[in-house]
Symmetry: C2
Subunit: 432 residues, 2 copies
């Protein structure tokens, strides 16, 4: 099946932080989709064919769908839990909530609602922590596979310091992860992430099991958390007294590589920064979460200058919004508080191609390159009265993007396409 | 005319930071309105009358309308201007934008849209900076008076260091302010605020003129800015080399009193804090603006402990949202970054009765006390799919309020009443 999506098309081919030649923009653009893949992108005048069905999203912007590289599937109902920093927040709210995901019916219901929220916000791929229960990962993969949506996910490994309902063991976490990898990794668009929650909730034996899994499955991602909160760091180092630093705990278990996604990375020591750069380990910036939990201000420019590749993510439910637009809004603010400037071109590159590169998946998602999966978001900078009023004064594409970045939310997402299939109901797009 | 508004009614009578006996809540509550004033509040069973018209907002929450004590009327189209801290932001974006308000037609159009945005967000009163042009204040007062909406506003006084299009003189600013006070202060619900923008844009002669106006009109508010940004402070002190500190500039001109509203107050010295407390001068916290412009983290608990009364405000267009809910969201985050906790009861008190007390207007607005103006906001914690999903887990009123605070925006405002008159179109309220 072929169709043409028409609109004002934006695509990045390089990082705006590195070069001025970073994007292509077609004011009257088109994307030709064949069987869920992008066949061509360019001017509408060059790509239109008499018998090719068209959906016209003008005057809205079309770009690659957003990628959310750090989100917790079982925390949809934990967002906005009051008054705690990280460790209390986990004990008081999150672990009890995650305990509910041992129920396959609950996990299946929330999996559907979770994906609904992603596409409502223009997010077409995510890297998700599931609960400790194998069933929770099965529920998420099943739902994502049914929608043909590229999901990277894994069951959390955690065998101590939580509550018994969400504890596994080193052996069971190895076995369950292994079984999930065999069942789901590479099935359609699903990919597995080996997921030790963080050093506090894993025994040394469990981290060794995670390392064994990573060695046995070098094409799987590994995701965990690093240096989010000062109390977390102190507690972590007390549990691993021989470690040189927090990162060293993961390093000693063979987890460092360009497949490792490290959530937060706020309070890093110099050795950790150097070692992350050397090993290609990724840092994932979670601005709404970092502000909400009072964790600290991520040093985006500093880590980039040190050679570390970063992603930017919602971190629902420590994060307060499902929206990558709101995430970029608060990302701008966190960087502003550090005297750094997040340009809208850099921001939208980050949420698309940048995050795809952080995952090493830029050959499949994050750009409009022919051959990529046709995951798209359609954005309307006039979606609300306040945005429309502000948008009267737009003079440049960057200004339009910045209004979306600072004032946008799910209302600004006019449509989301996953592998070429529209996910939202009737919009103002014209179909002929 | 009498009518009854039914819903889940919340009203504060004390500050949750000070006492546990701070609010009343009626699960099936009612507010009786007569001629735009609150006649009674209580249980619906006690207040219903056979022939009294009712509007039923259950299951939504009804509370006093929000008060926004620091907002810039001419900056509706400046929100989300990229990449600057305060002084550059003013020069590059704000002063040119404000220059447009010399055109009475433009000012009148934006005045209507400005009030539309306030009521769409549940804000029923605001304290607004107008542009330097007398016509801009006339436009705002005219529009607010026509809606019977309590507005405190003033034309900005600024006679240097901006651009010529928005400069007045010490004498003309005195004359124009005086004429506006005579025309508008006390007319219906309108009140005047004497408005020297800040020390940088006023000559000593102009600040003396502002002090003369304040002495001649002790029932007018005075609004200005204080210690928002480190570069601003340094520049200010270079312009007033004899001042002991930034606050002293205003003090020497007789501006300190409990009618003085000082926007930002982030980087205060000990003497300034003590002197603000002694004189009753108010500090206004503008969280979305402070983060957006990278200004700094307001010390809410510290200033309260020092005896200073604070308000919380949007500061549109340095602020990024018209919504007091979003403002409380980022207020929570700023305080979290300081290790402080903004409880939802304290937050909603702050946006209503707390801000009314900062203005010394708690006898008229900010509570549901009989005799007050019937300015109300109706809030729906299930307004969006993400909120509805989260709200399945609500167990307490505080949790419901916190979901509104962290996840809410204008969609959570089901209705707004100004002096008893509904401002939004048809809602799901039942009318009989």
């Amino acid at each position: 099946m072929r169709q043409l999506i028409r609109g004002r098309v934006l695509d990045f081919h390089a990082d705006p932080n590195e070069t001025a030649d970073n994007h292509r923009f077609w004011e009257d653009g088109a994307i030709v989709i064949r069987d869920g893949l992008i066949e061509a992108v360019g001017d509408h005048a060059d790509l239109a064919e008499p018998d090719l069905p068209e959906i016209d999203h003008r005057p809205h912007l079309i770009m690659p769908g957003f990628i959310d590289p750090h989100i917790h599937f079982p925390q949809a109902q934990v967002i906005a839990s009051w008054g705690a920093q990280l460790l209390d927040w986990l004990q008081n709210y999150t672990f009890p909530e995650e305990a509910r995901f041992g129920d396959p019916d609950h996990a299946a219901r929330i999996a559907g609602l979770f994906l609904d929220q992603l596409v409502a916000n223009g997010t077409t791929s995510a890297v998700a922590f599931c609960s400790v229960h194998k069933t929770s990962a099965e529920a998420l993969f099943t739902a994502a596979h049914a929608r043909n949506m590229a999901m990277v996910a894994g069951k959390v490994m955690m065998d101590r310091n939580a509550i018994p309902e969400v504890h596994d063991t080193a052996q069971s976490s190895y076995d369950d992860s292994k079984a999930l990898i065999e069942a789901w990794h590479g099935k359609g668009r699903q990919r597995y992430a080996i997921t030790p929650r963080f050093a506090i909730t894993s025994t040394p034996e469990q981290l060794a099991a995670a390392g064994a899994l990573a060695a046995e499955h070098p094409d799987c991602h590994v995701q965990t958390h690093l240096s989010e909160n000062l109390a977390e760091i102190e507690y972590t180092l007390s549990l691993y007294p021989k470690a040189r630093d927090y990162l060293d705990i993961y390093e000693q278990n063979g987890l460092l590589s360009d497949r490792l996604l490290l959530g937060h990375c706020i309070h890093l020591r110099d050795r950790e920064i150097a070692r992350m750069a050397e090993t290609g380990s990724r840092a994932i910036f979670c601005p709404t979460s970092n502000l909400f939990l009072g964790s600290g201000l991520f040093d985006a420019d500093g880590l980039r200058d040190a050679g570390i590749v970063s992603g930017v993510a919602t971190d629902v439910g420590g994060g307060t919004s499902w929206s990558m637009l709101q995430t970029l809004n608060e990302g701008y603010k966190v960087m502003a508080m550090r005297g750094q400037k997040l340009h809208p071109l850099a921001a939208f590159h980050w949420a698309t191609r940048g995050n795809a590169m952080a995952l090493g998946m830029e050959d499949r998602i994050g750009t409009l390159a022919p051959g990529s999966d046709a995951d798209l978001v359609v954005l309307d900078a006039r979606a609300t009265p306040a945005m429309a009023l502000r948008s009267e004064r737009i003079r440049t594409l960057s200004e339009e993007l910045f209004i979306l970045q600072i004032m946008g939310d799910d209302r600004a997402v006019a449509q989301t396409y996953v592998a070429g299939v529209a996910q939202k109901g009737p919009s103002d797009a014209a179909i002929r």
